[in-house]
């Protein structure tokens, strides 16, 4: 259904998100850090980007900023994976241009529901 | 199961064993001769039959251990049963046969070659036909024998594969 990019430095998290989204028929690409994610986003267009916040090389917030600077990602839904303790990250994320967030820990159903919110 | 032949000279001696019913589980025995005597081995344990190629000597090995040979990349010891059992003449001709026996179980995973004079028919024997050995006589140590079977006028001595494959354990006795 949709082309989704998941960016997270945890392989098990990437696995889980990819498997969940694929089971709903989406096509998933993954990256292990912000820079890799940005590169992937540049080389092909994704309908939704889901990204963790704390990553090496380039973190989630910077990734959001960089994505928004790209012409074809101006309005693309970008979701942040946050923990309940990083409330200020939500604000910062929104300021950087993120669409919304998904709070960790989440289960597969919540993930699918949240992604469904942003798919046109 | 088609038994592979390594040497031209023994092709006449090898039986085509296609169509053997293995479900009956081990009631078939490959029989062979040592001198004038007949012996049998559980056919399921027999991997292949080869001719005689002088193996590489093992230093300070007992006389019945002729050495080791290359079996498709694996190092396999070669034991001369005629020497071990002290039966028949020990000579090596183009007709001499090496039976490659292997067994893989929870406790053992081994392959060995046994040198014999010639290979004969495949013997079908029910358990009821197998008689226990007599307590005396014979140069074959009793631990290697599982029983005797009458075939016509001959007697076939059935050998215990597991014991044979373990024989290096009791080498020190010789």
């Amino acid at each position: 259904m949709a082309q989704i990019l998941i960016v997270d430095d945890s392989a098990s998290m990437r696995n889980m998100v990819a498997t969940t989204l694929k089971s709903a028929g989406h096509q998933v690409t993954d990256a292990a850090d912000g820079q890799a994610g940005l590169n992937k986003a540049k080389s092909s267009k994704f309908d939704v980007v889901v990204t963790d916040l704390n990553m090496p090389i380039m973190n989630g917030i910077d990734l959001v900023r960089n994505l928004r600077a790209l012409a074809n990602y101006k309005y693309t839904p970008i979701l942040l994976l946050t923990t309940e303790s990083s409330m200020d990250k939500k604000t910062e994320g929104k300021a950087a241009g993120a669409t919304g967030w998904l709070v960790k820990p989440f289960n597969p159903d919540k993930l699918l529901a949240t992604v469904a919110r942003v798919i046109g | 199961m088609k038994i592979e032949v390594a040497d031209q000279a023994i092709s006449e001696q090898v039986m085509q064993l296609e169509g053997i019913d293995f479900i009956t589980g081990g009631d078939q025995y490959l029989t062979f001769t040592l001198g004038e005597e007949h012996y049998g081995l559980d056919i399921l344990a027999v991997n292949e039959i080869r001719g005689w190629i002088p193996p590489t000597l093992i230093p300070n090995a007992p006389t019945h251990v002729k050495g080791v040979t290359n079996l498709r990349g694996n190092i396999v010891p070669v034991i001369d049963l005629r020497i071990l059992f002290q039966v028949g003449n020990v000579d090596y001709s183009p007709f001499t046969v090496t039976i490659i026996v292997a067994m893989k179980s929870a406790t053992m995973n081994r392959t060995m070659g046994f040198v014999v004079d010639a290979v004969s028919d495949v013997l079908n024997a029910e358990k009821s036909e197998i008689k226990s050995t007599s307590a005396f006589g014979g140069s074959v140590p009793l631990e290697y024998v599982t029983g005797l079977v009458n075939v016509g006028n001959d007697v076939v001595t059935l050998l215990d594969i597991e014991q044979l494959l373990n024989l290096d354990e009791d080498d020190d006795e010789h």
């Binding site: 693309t76 929104k94 | 090995a61």
Partner: protein, 720 residues
């Protein structure tokens, strides 16, 4: 479609173990500097572990890691300094987590006692700070369980709606909503129509767009939204919270007016306006507790926790437990693919040649075969390299171990690591890990002196242990060096005599005395220290190294220090060998053992103490071994005069092997004799030569040891 989370567990556990390693290493180097980059690294590792544990259902781990994360979050925001106390607690937490994950991996339930203690200790630290809003927030979060964002926002609403309405489930509510998005709303990827779609799930939705605010066409910017909407949601059972949830992402970027117009009640309930939300932290002000500047004694818990933690840290050993997977760099895999490609090309070329072969193509065939040799060699090297990992994996456990050890026995020790990128076979590394630990423990325990003693000797107070690894001629050499008191040959000699290991009359070379420390039951420690054992260690170390096909060499100087060098083959499966012929048989001598090969000069042969023949090789007297006698085989040359001698060495002892002929040198694949037969004295394995025949590989250390035992027995016999 329920997704089975268990399929992700194994990778998660591996990640956690790695993350814990990273945390530990970073904690050890953080020292006094509190480098923000390092703190960030530690935070990220803890954060990852926490996130994953929560997601994959390991609530206890998640709760535990949460406090760590809170502390680390404070640290990386500069609100707190990570002092010794914190670092110690964090290190112990790493041990605890390792233990928990090991149990979880084995599908067992972890015991929570240790983690509960640690959590309590952390909380004490966290409370001990001044009560600022931030700390209170951290506290509040510790006490509350994770909730969705919706509920956080619901705390912001000023007036609560009547209870009767909030519990009303009938589909009779009629909501009137005014939605005025800020112009930039589209730039966050939030599309109003999508919001309405969601809203429409809650009931019957009618939307009316209000375009009164749209500027003139000329002033219109394409990515700004000037439309506002009036929405009517009828026949809905939704509560206000449900509606707010739909807008939760955009609540900051709009003005929202939600009004309930309910047919059942006569008066409309007062509207509540949701302004762009204030900091959600405000709500947790109520949760402020009364602590203030009460500094707790954390130290008292240290002693109590120490024994348990020590146990876990010694249990944890993700390296020595041989894991069934190996991480391979993509470059190595790509290289392999390329080489296989070249092999395929060579094969088809040879195949083609073989199709219409005639004698004129001989040169091409020769060239093709050479190509094949090259391809096979490269492929072999490439594949072997896949099993190679940098020795840093083995070295990495030492900073922590040395720190703990040094604290325990009150010595100051510094660890220097070199050559950590030197690669070796994964299995060899797994098996060398424990011996290395023992060597290092020994160096600290018996080698490095106490601080006072060192100062008295004019040495720097801090002792130094140096780990090094490098490649040397097809092998890897690992060095453990200490600048401690060195080996006292006299003391060792006496101890050995005392223990009856050697004869008091026997003169021993320095090397031979050093060798004594590897004898079973030997230990010169006047009291047995519990960290490096009762003399059972060194002989096991030597045995392990030998079983890997390696050797161990000792070098020492009194009061200066000791260096122990472990030589290991790079791989266990392949050997560089020298083919030698004795009679009809071809044997392989491991190249690494060969000192030199020479033609015997009769005048240098001496008969010594009875019938032992020795060859004078420069300074040494080298005993001669007649291999044909050892193996009971025939040889061409049974006479020492003008014979060929291959001088080999093991454990510092040299012998000369009498052979008939020196053949080629080649790499051979080591095949086991024991799998189908049994262990043979003097032989370490077998190989298959190019002609298909089997050739035995000589066990040089075994041969030398046997010959020395025999000669010693002879001497003793003669003496008796």
């Amino acid at each position: 479609m329920p997704i089975d989370m268990e399929q992700f567990h194994e990778v998660f556990f591996e990640e956690c173990f790695e993350g814990l390693d990273v945390m530990e290493q970073s904690l050890l180097i953080i020292g006094q500097s509190n480098d923000p980059e390092v703190i960030n690294t530690i935070f990220r590792a803890a954060h990852s572990i926490k996130g994953g544990s929560g997601t994959f259902g390991f609530a206890d781990v998640a709760n535990f890691t949460h406090v760590l994360e809170t502390l680390l979050d404070d640290a990386r925001d500069g609100r707190r300094e990570l002092n010794e106390e914190c670092i110690e607690l964090l290190l112990r937490s790493c041990d605890c987590l390792r233990g928990m994950f090991t149990l979880l991996q084995a599908k067992k339930t972890p015991n929570l006692d240790q983690s509960i203690e640690l959590i309590a200790a952390f909380e004490r630290i966290l409370r001990a700070k001044d009560t600022t809003v931030n700390t209170a927030q951290a506290e509040a979060v510790i006490q509350t369980s994770p909730e969705g964002s919706g509920s956080m926002l619901s705390q912001n609403s000023k007036n609560d709606v009547n209870t009767s309405i909030s519990t009303d489930n009938k589909d009779t509510k009629h909501w009137q909503i005014t939605f005025v998005p800020e112009p930039q709303i589209l730039l966050s990827g939030n599309e109003p129509l999508r919001l309405f779609r969601e809203l429409a799930d809650l009931g019957k939705l009618d939307t009316t767009a209000n375009i009164s605010e749209i500027p003139n066409f000329a002033d219109l910017t394409v990515d700004e939204c000037f439309i506002r909407w009036d929405l009517e949601l009828r026949d809905s059972s939704a509560s206000k919270e449900d509606i707010l949830e739909v807008f939760d992402w955009v609540i900051d970027e709009c003005t929202l007016n939600i009004q309930l117009i309910n047919d059942n009640t006569s008066t409309p309930v007062e509207a509540t306006t949701s302004e762009p939300s204030e900091a959600p932290m405000a709500s947790s002000q109520d949760k402020l507790t009364t602590t203030d500047g009460l500094s707790q004694q954390i130290a008292s818990t240290d002693k109590k926790m120490a024994p348990d933690v020590q146990a876990t840290s010694s249990d944890k050993n993700s390296l020595s437990s041989s894991s069934s997977s190996i991480r391979v760099g993509v470059d190595k895999v790509d290289n392999l693919i390329n080489l296989v490609g070249e092999l395929v090309i060579t094969q088809s070329m040879l195949s083609e040649l073989g199709n219409n072969f005639d004698i004129t193509k001989l040169e091409k065939l020769s060239h093709g075969l050479e190509q094949l040799l090259q391809n096979t060699k490269e492929l072999q090297e490439s594949v072997m390299r896949i099993r190679m990992l940098p020795i840093s994996f083995a070295f990495n456990r030492f900073p922590r171990m040395i720190r703990d050890l040094a604290l325990k026995i009150d010595k100051k020790v510094e660890l220097v690591i070199c050559g950590e990128n030197t690669e070796l076979d994964k299995t060899v590394m797994e098996q060398i890990s424990d011996p290395l630990v023992h060597l290092v423990r020994n160096a600290i325990d018996h080698g490095i002196e106490t601080a006072e003693e060192r100062i008295r000797k004019g040495k720097p107070e801090q002792g130094c242990i140096r780990l090094d690894a490098y490649h040397q001629g097809g092998n890897i050499v690992i060095e453990v060096t200490d600048d401690g008191k060195g080996l006292d040959t006299t003391a060792i000699h006496h101890k050995a005599i005392e223990k009856g290991l050697i004869d008091s009359n026997e003169p021993l070379s320095e090397n031979e005395i050093y060798d004594l420390i590897f004898q079973p039951g030997f230990s010169t420690a006047s009291q047995v220290s519990d960290i490096s054992g009762r003399g059972v260690g060194m002989d096991v170390v030597k045995r392990n190294i030998k079983s890997l096909g390696g050797r161990i060499v000792v070098q020492s100087k009194l009061d200066m220090g000791t260096t122990i060098r472990v030589h290991l083959p790079l791989t266990l499966a392949i050997l560089d060998g020298q083919l030698v012929r004795i009679g009809q048989q071809v044997f392989i001598v491991p190249l690494i053992t060969i000192v030199e090969s020479l033609q015997v000069k009769p005048e240098l042969v001496n008969r010594v103490s009875g019938d032992m023949l020795m060859y004078r090789l420069r300074e040494d007297n080298v005993p001669i071994i007649y291999l044909y006698k050892e193996f009971s085989i025939s040889a061409d040359n049974t006479d020492i005069d003008n014979a060929l001698l291959v001088v080999v060495e093991s454990d510092g002892q040299k012998v000369g092997l009498l052979v008939d002929d020196l053949l080629a040198q080649q790499q051979v694949v080591i095949k086991s004799l024991e799998s189908n037969y049994k262990r043979i004295e003097g032989i370490s394995g077998a190989t298959i030569l190019g002609d298909g025949s089997v050739s035995m590989i000589l066990d040089i250390p075994g041969l030398i040891a046997a010959s020395f035992r025999r000669s010693k027995a002879k001497r003793q016999f003669k003496a008796a």
